[in-house]
Amino acid sequence: MALAALPPQPAPMLVYADEYLLNGSRRAGPSGRWRFQLRNNGEDDHDLRIRRPGGGVLASTPVIHPSAMGTLRVRLTPGRYTLFCGIADHEARGMIWQLVVRVPKVRTTAP
């Protein structure tokens, strides 16, 4: 029996926020759809923003309160993105994470 093909899944990434550290679950991944989950492990409010390779914020979660979680769905093209917390001076204090997005590798199947 042929199995129905599952729709392509977004690349998932889990990001933990704490004072003052942003810790992502991956450093690189394929271009296309992404799903970011931000978990606030800290005692202060945080958010997650994504800066485009050329500058400018591509997307942002609302403010995520302590022990809460937020989700961000975006489409990323190849390049180096910066994830950061946009609240107050949190980015300058170290809440930053680099993510490299590459053209996905094409899988070939042996005949």
Binding site: N23, S25, R26, G94
Partner: protein
């Protein structure tokens, strides 16, 4: 065909597999009951072969789980190892040590570090405690959790030193002083974490190389020395053996048994297996088979239901259900771990257990129209018992289930009623077997 073992022999093995693992798989009890407890314990202490049995790997919505990149999947990953694990005592002891060396990802914030800690513990779960404690000292999740990762000679952080003595090796106010903690904290300095590169390390220039005095002994102690000193403290062995005993039975440990465990633990050079052998073959573990007195931990309860009903992890609801039941692996409430036994049962957690059992019954796929009208009340109870993996039930519960089985379908003889109410009876019976009071204890 081999003769069916006695009810008592089966009950002993049931008890053993709940307390030293996550409950029996269908068909697992009888062969072990024929061999007896001693042989079963030998098998648990020296498991062989693959770690996981052949059964579907965990999925959510048909997609393989992703523990590192998706919230909640870390919990599913561990739950799956309990459900599919073949080395049941190793998995159970890994959970026990996780409770003992409690580390929470709520602070660590890195699933990879938590999973690495799981493997660190698992590899030593039945072996040398000294090796385990030394490995925990260097474990990055623990270093972050108890602030060892940037404890500097100029400002030693006492968190790890305090818990090492108070919780991990000696017990509260048991054979150490506040000064010992402060001196141990000095000896434990030097570990580092670079916030820019996210790398852990050890910098000798940040270690306090001076003379420290711990437990009345003086020396230029290093981090490893502190662990060795704590384990060599005369209060350590009784504390650890008593704690291990408590993971398997709520009954008090007889003094003579404690003495024997301590002697074997010391003579073996802090090996855990000999202690476990004494506990798992002790008559206390098999006392009161008709009145189980240990409340199943939530994750044991859930993994056990899945194992006994032949199900695997296919739903991310388990992660939040475990949270509601009060036990989310990788997220103990604090460094003391979880409170055990009666503490598991609250009005809120019981409701969550009912909900979890309901989800398991849903997985049994008892569809409308699937049961014949010829099924008698007695056969319905027997079938529900079989479907739920033959859980222990006391006489009161058995009588209540028999009454329900009879009354719930009385007078319902139309075709549409048989089509719905006969399977509904099976669903409710199954649910009560899993979620009722008898299902909560082992």
């Amino acid at each position: 065909m081999s003769a069916r073992p006695s009810t008592a022999a089966r009950a002993r093995i049931e008890r053993l597999l709940w307390r030293a693992g996550f409950g029996a798989l269908p068909g697992e009890v009888d062969p072990l009951a024929r061999g007896g407890v001693d042989a079963a314990v030998r098998g648990l202490l020296a498991p062989r072969g693959p770690q996981l049995r052949r059964a579907p790997a965990p999925t959510v919505d048909g997609v393989p789980i992703d523990p590192y990149n998706t919230w909640g999947h870390d919990v599913l990953w561990w739950l799956d190892r309990m459900v599919r694990g073949r080395h049941q005592l190793v998995e159970r002891m890994t959970l026990n040590w996780h409770d003992h060396f409690a580390t929470s990802n709520h602070k660590v914030g890195d699933v990879k570090l938590m999973v690495t800690q799981y493997w660190t513990i698992r590899a030593r779960a039945l072996g040398s405690f000294r090796s385990l404690a030394r490995a925990i000292l260097r474990d990055h999740a623990m270093q972050r959790f108890l602030d060892l990762d940037n404890s500097d000679k100029d400002d030693p952080n006492e968190n790890f030193a305090r818990e090492l003595l108070e919780l991990f090796t000696l017990g509260v106010n048991n054979g150490y002083t506040e000064r010992d903690i402060r001196e141990a904290a000095r000896a434990l300095t030097g570990f580092t974490f670079d916030w820019d590169t996210h790398r852990f390390g050890y910098d000798p220039s940040r270690h306090d190389g001076g003379v420290k005095r711990i437990f009345g002994r003086s020396g230029r102690f290093t981090p490893g020395d502190v662990v060795d000193l704590a384990i060599s403290n005369p209060h350590h062995a009784p504390y650890l053996c008593r704690k291990l005993w408590g993971y398997f039975t709520p009954r008090p440990c007889p003094p003579a048994t404690l003495k024997r465990m301590v002697a074997d633990y010391r003579a073996s050079g802090t090996q855990i297996r000999p202690v476990l052998r004494i506990i798992l073959t002790h008559p206390s573990l098999y006392a009161g088979l008709g009145e189980p007195d240990q409340v199943k931990q939530p994750v044991v309860y859930l993994a056990g239901m899945l194992r006994r009903t032949g199900q695997t992890v296919t739903d991310d609801a388990w992660a939040w259900m475990l949270d509601d039941m009060g036990q989310r692996p990788f997220y103990p409430p604090n460094v003391s771990g979880w409170e055990q036994n009666e503490a598991w049962l609250t009005t809120a957690s019981i409701r969550a257990r009912y909900q979890a059992a309901s989800q398991v019954v849903h997985g049994l796929r008892i569809e409308d129209g699937s049961i014949s009208r010829k099924q008698t009340p007695a056969k319905a109870v027997a079938a529900a018992v079989a479907r739920t993996g033959r859980p222990w039930i006391g006489p009161q519960t058995r009588a209540a289930l028999a009454r329900f089985s009879r009354d719930s379908v009385a007078g319902k003889t139309d075709d549409w009623q048989v089509e719905h109410y006969w399977p509904e009876r099976m669903r409710v019976l199954s649910h009560m077997l899993l979620a009722g009071p008898d299902g909560q204890v082992c």
